[in-house]
Structures are given as C-alpha cells and as structure tokens.
C-alpha cells in the first residue's frame, strides 16, 4: 500500500491522539513525552502500532533521533520513500 504525505500526517495525529495522556492538541511540534505525556513504554507501544499501520520497521537507532511528532513523521516518510511507497 502507498501513502501520501498528507495521509501519513493524519494517521500520526490520529494514533498519537489515541495514546496521549494530556489535553494538548497533537501537532508536528508536539514533544511525545514532555507534551503528550506518553512514557517510554507508551512510546514503544505507539511505534508497534505505527509499524503495523505502515508495514515498516523503525529500528532502535532511529529512536535516538526522535523527540517530536515531526521526527516520527520524518522516520516514517524516509522509510516509505525508500520502499517506493510514498506518493508524489
């Protein structure tokens, strides 16, 4: 399955919205832990969800670069593009 950038963003907002522990609106700038109140175990659960949704793997090394929702988007988009599954 292929994804457009827009649909990836939408999906991320939706998934993080389900897991967030605070009232903050999810945006690209939201810090996963500090703003959304998702703890490190919760983050790993979200990652598993995202891997299943987008059919890809986000390795441990990539996690070190992740702080905000925008960082997650970058990680997902890069992998979709490498797989030739990113539209446009």
């Amino acid at each position: 399955m292929t994804w457009s950038r827009e649909n990836v963003q939408k999906k991320l907002v939706e998934v993080f919205g389900q897991h967030k522990q605070t009232e903050v609106d999810v945006s690209a700038e939201s810090e996963i832990v500090a703003d959304l109140g998702i703890d490190s175990l919760g983050v790993m659960e979200v990652l598993a969800d995202l891997e299943d949704t987008f059919k890809l793997t986000i390795p441990d090394e990539a996690l070190r670069e992740i702080n905000t929702i925008g960082d997650v988007a970058t990680a997902v988009l890069t992998r979709l593009e490498n797989d030739g599954r990113l539209e446009g």
Partner: protein
C-alpha cells in the same frame, strides 16, 4: 551444597571455551537473523575485543566505559576487558525522546567518577556524545566499536586474581550522583554460586536462558551473561527495546528455543498481560519454562497471578514464579523464594504493619488484610537481619515479624563504592550493609515492605525524590522548597505511580493547569521520568515536621487516603496564616486536618 573453589570470571570464560554445544544467541529485530556463538567462539571473540583494548593502551586496572547498544558488541567487549584485567564500566545507551541533556550529564558523571581512560561506543552514539571528552579530563579517547569488530590484535594473557576488581556497576539512580558499586571476581563467584546451583538448581550446560534484560543492569549482565559462563548454559538474548515494542517476542523466543529460565521485573509481566494479543499466543508453548524470576522492583502478586491466568493455556505453570530480592551492592541476588512453589504471600494486618511496624498474621479476606510477597531465605554463607534504622552499629537485631531496615552480610556484598569512601562508610552499619529497604523476617524468610530510602522505582529504574523535587522547584510559579515527590502503589496502574505535590501562590485554574504541564515537562526532560500525577496545592498545605523538613511519607498517606486532594481544592485562602501556624507541629498538623475537613 558445598561451594566449589571459586574461579575468576576470566577463568570461567576459558573453561567454558571447551563447550561448542552451548553459547549465546543474539536475536535481532528481523526474525530471520539469529547469530549463534558457541562458548568456544565467545572465547575467541572476547579475546579479539580484549586485545583491541590492550592495543588502545589500556592496562590491567584501567577503566573502560562501555556504551554499546548492540548486545553482541557489549558481551564481547565486556568479557574481553575482564580477561585483560581492564575494568569495564557499563553505561546505558541514550534512548532519545528528548532526554539528551540529562543523559549527557549522567554519562559525564560516570565517566569522570570511574576515571575511565577510554570510552567504547558505536559510531552513531559517538556523534551524540559530542564534546564529552573535553569535559572529562581523564578520558583520553572515545573509540567507535565498528573497527574493533574486525581487529586482529592478540589478547596478551594477564593474571587475574579473585580479589581483583572485575567491573563497576553504576547504580541507575540519583541523576546527580550515580554510585559505582565495586565488584571483585570473588563477589561474582560467590553470588553466581548462590544463584545457579543453590538458588535455582541449574543443570550445567542443560538449562537454557532467554533474556531481553538490558546488559548495563545487574540482572541482565550478571544473571544472563556472567552466571551462564560459569555453568555453560545457553542464553538467547533479545534487544531490550524490541521486548518493549513487541512483548510477544519474549514469549515466542522462550517457546522457540525451549527456554527454561527467564527473568523480568514486575512491570515486564504486567506488560505481557496488557500488550500480548490472543492471536500472538497461537502456536506458542511455554511448558519448558521452569523458572520465571521476578525482581528488581516491588512485586505485586496480582500482576503475576494475572500473567499465570492469561498464559496457562499455552503451557505456563504458575509454580515457575520465583520471587527475588536483590541489589547491585550484593552483586545481584540476596534471596530467592524456593523454586517450583510459585508466588507466596504472608497475609498480615495492614494497619498494624504500617502504624506499629509489626507483621501480625490475619486470615485472608480479613478487613485491612495485606498480602506481603515472600522472597525466600538468605543463601548459604550469607545473612539477612532486621535492625532499627537508628541502630548504627547493628548491635541488636529485631525479632521475627518486627519491621525494620534489612541489612545483609556475606561474600556477595561489595567492598564499597568506587572512589567514594564517605558514601561507602555511610552505607554500612557495623559489618552489615544497609539495604535501605524495609522488611521483616518470618520463619527465616524475607518479606519486603518498602524502602526507607524513599527511592521510586519505575520500570526497573531508580529515581530519587530529591532529584525530582529539585527539578520541579526550578519551574517558575512553584514555591521553592515546597515540593514533595513520592511513589505510590495505590491506583489503577500496574506499577509504582509517581506523584508530585507542590505549593503555589497561583489561584487561577487555567494557570494552575499550565503550571502542572510545566512541572511534568521539567521533570521529564531532566530526570527522564514521566510523572503520573501532579498536584498543585495552596501555600502551607504540605506537611512539615517541626524542623521544617517536608514529610514524604505523610504526604503519600494523605494522598492515598484522598485527603490531600480534598483539602486543597476546597480550602479558602483567608485561612492561610492560621494553617501555616498550626501546621508547624505534628499535633497541630492533625488538628488542622480535622479542622480543615469539618470546615470544608
């Protein structure tokens, strides 16, 4: 069982090299990759890594810091250093998620305190560490491990004695001051003997361990790297983050490799119950699993029972549970419940336990009945006794069923903290090590009730309330010195929950909400801990002793009974001075509680 003559870890590696049928398997994220190294191969690989470290100029007794996220790299580097007499200092790798500043500070402290001359890490982490070398004067180089993997430097044999330091285990804990538990080969030989043949009736070369535990932590490193070398047991390792992402991989690995032994903290069993789907259980068989160890954080019997209930249909036997008490200062293990007996609890009157410090047995289901998990007897050659916390020389052990500080003695107990004579001195009372844990002994068995040091343990890591309070105090709007952080086992969570209560002059509700968020964020970023509840209070509400010292235990009690929240939301501001006045003494404080309540 009589102890064989103790061997150094270095000797154990050489002895194990005779085995080509057992060894380590390192699983990776992709299920198709599962490299296996027999102990003969482990001996060769560790010699390569050890030789490379000698070629870097490291000599016997020098320290090398290891930040190696790859399990295979870590194991070979650790064992290689040990064989060369170089003292490894394991440090956990950065996890991302915006905790970098706190991580770097912690790492710098450990590097400086240990006096490490070389830091061995992966090339991508080397970039993250940036300028660490400039800030740690003793650190001569930061080396990327990739080059070591293919190095051809030969290990030059080094004589290693039982009383040489084997490695330094820096306790994850206070961000300000992690302490380096110093363990000798003799400590390790003693504790491995206590764990393997004595505690778990391990069959050499036959039992098969499966572990996702981080190797920079004592349970993963000693339990699943060092102890198996002594007894030539095969171990299958999973990356820790893979377990956290896909808990089913833990059970799949036990099923696939017919694992007989696996350990985890309480949270791991709770996570498996919560996250593993019915569909993921199809085709799994856990009937080989005879020892399911649980330790490293407070054990909740109901979590383990829920695990047994969920996974019994794929062959898990609840008798496999072994409840463990241990700490890095005692190498790893202090006591284990008897194998194949499952989780046992001592049902006592909760009120008497907490108010009088006495564990009085009551019938199950009695009002105020509280089940305390049994953690077995001390190992042969070791002692566990209970003392009043002010018994500074350990002169008078308390009788059975009296709650006090647990103190231990024996060959597994460390000599002290590295380069920290003052802290070392304070951690001993007479010849006994103070564990900082509260508990009692009944019928010779150990029961843990809590911690006198007030450490909060979340997902296997220790956090000190002082650190959390300090960071929260830095937030603008929080009254300095009027913050209390504590852990509570009460509430909906399956782990210890972390609560911060603080005083503020802010009255506007929206502003208070913002302040709550700021406090969460500050603690998250500096300490790396997600706070479960933040409670803003009006000035003067937090309990203080007559000396002005804030009382964590009292605050926890008020919070758990719901009184802390009740009082705060309803209290009127014009009572403030009065409250401050009477809250000065303990008696006044209780009067205020009554007064406040009746008026609210």
């Amino acid at each position: 069982m009589s102890a064989p003559s103790p061997r150094t870890v270095a000797q154990a590696i050489e002895d194990a090299a005779a085995s080509s049928s057992t060894g380590y398997r390192f699983l990776e994220e992709s299920p198709d990759v599962a490299p296996y190294h027999s102990y003969a191969d482990v001996e060769r690989m560790s010699a390569r890594y050890g030789g490379a470290m000698q070629a870097m100029g490291l000599r016997k007794g020098d320290r090398v810091a290891l930040i190696l996220p790859d399990n295979a790299d870590f194991v070979f580097a650790f064992l290689g250093a040990v064989r060369a007499g170089i003292i490894p200092v394991p440090i956990y790798p950065p996890t991302g998620l915006g905790k970098l500043a706190g991580y770097l500070e912690n790492t710098l402290h450990i590097v400086a305190k240990s006096g490490a001359r070389v830091l061995l890490t992966s090339s991508d982490i080397k970039k993250i560490l940036g300028t660490i070398q400039a800030q740690a004067p003793g650190l001569e180089k930061v080396v990327a491990v990739e080059g070591v993997r293919t190095s051809n430097d030969k290990l030059r044999p080094e004589k290693v004695d039982l009383d040489d330091v084997c490695f330094l285990q820096f306790t994850s804990g206070s961000t300000a001051r992690p302490k380096g538990v110093t363990l000798t080969h003799r400590n390790l030989a003693a504790n491995v003997h206590a764990i393997m043949p004595v505690g778990l009736s391990i069959q050499d070369g036959v039992d098969h361990g499966v572990s996702w535990l981080p190797l920079y932590h004592d349970m993963g490193l000693i339990g699943f790297v060092i102890a198996p070398v002594y007894h030539r047991n095969s171990i299958t390792f999973l990356p820790p983050l893979l377990f956290l992402k896909r808990p089913a991989r833990w059970l799949e690995s036990i099923s696939k490799y017919k694992g007989t032994i696996s350990f985890g903290p309480n949270f791991a069993y709770a996570l498996a119950v919560k996250r593993i789907k019915e569909s993921e259980m199809e085709g799994l068989d856990l009937s080989s699993w005879r020892i399911a160890g649980c330790g490293a954080e407070p054990i909740r019997a109901e979590n383990l029972r829920a695990f047994a209930e969920k996974f019994s249909r794929i062959g898990f036997d609840e008798r496999a549970f072994v409840c463990c008490y241990g700490m890095a200062e005692s190498t790893l293990a202090v006591s284990f419940s008897k194998i194949w007996t499952g989780v046992r609890t001592d049902v006592v009157d909760g009120e008497t336990l907490w108010s009088k410090g006495r564990a009085e047995p009551v019938a199950e289901g009695a009002p105020r009945a509280s089940g305390i998990v049994e953690c077995g007897m001390p190992f042969e050659g070791h002692e566990i006794k209970v003392f009043a916390s002010d018994d500074d020389t350990s002169a008078r052990p308390l009788p059975e069923r009296e709650v006090g500080e647990l103190r231990i003695l024996g060959p597994s107990v460390m000599q002290g903290y590295w380069n920290d004579p003052e802290v070392t001195k304070r951690s001993f009372a007479g010849s006994y090590l103070r564990t900082g844990d509260l508990g009692y002994i009944a019928d010779g068995k150990v029961y843990i009730c809590g911690r006198s040091k007030e450490v909060v343990i979340v997902n296997g890591r220790n956090y000190y309330p002082q650190d959390i309070e300090w960071e929260a105090s830095q937030v603008e709007g929080v009254r300095k010195g009027n913050v209390i952080a504590f852990g509570t086992m009460k509430g909906p969570s399956d782990r210890e929950r972390v609560v911060i209560a603080f005083e503020t002059g802010e009255k506007d509700e929206a502003a208070k909400k913002r302040l709550e968020a700021d406090v969460r964020k500050a603690v998250q970023q500096s300490v790396g801990l997600t706070v479960d509840d933040v409670v803003p209070l009006a000035p003067g509400v937090l309990p203080k002793t007559s000396s002005g010292k804030l009382q964590r235990a009292k605050t926890r009690e008020l919070y758990e009974s719901g009184e802390l929240l009740g009082r705060t939301s309803a209290r009127e501001v014009d009572k403030l001075d009065l409250v401050k006045e009477i809250a000065k003494s303990q008696i006044g404080y209780f009067r205020h509680r009554l007064f406040g309540k009746s008026d609210d």
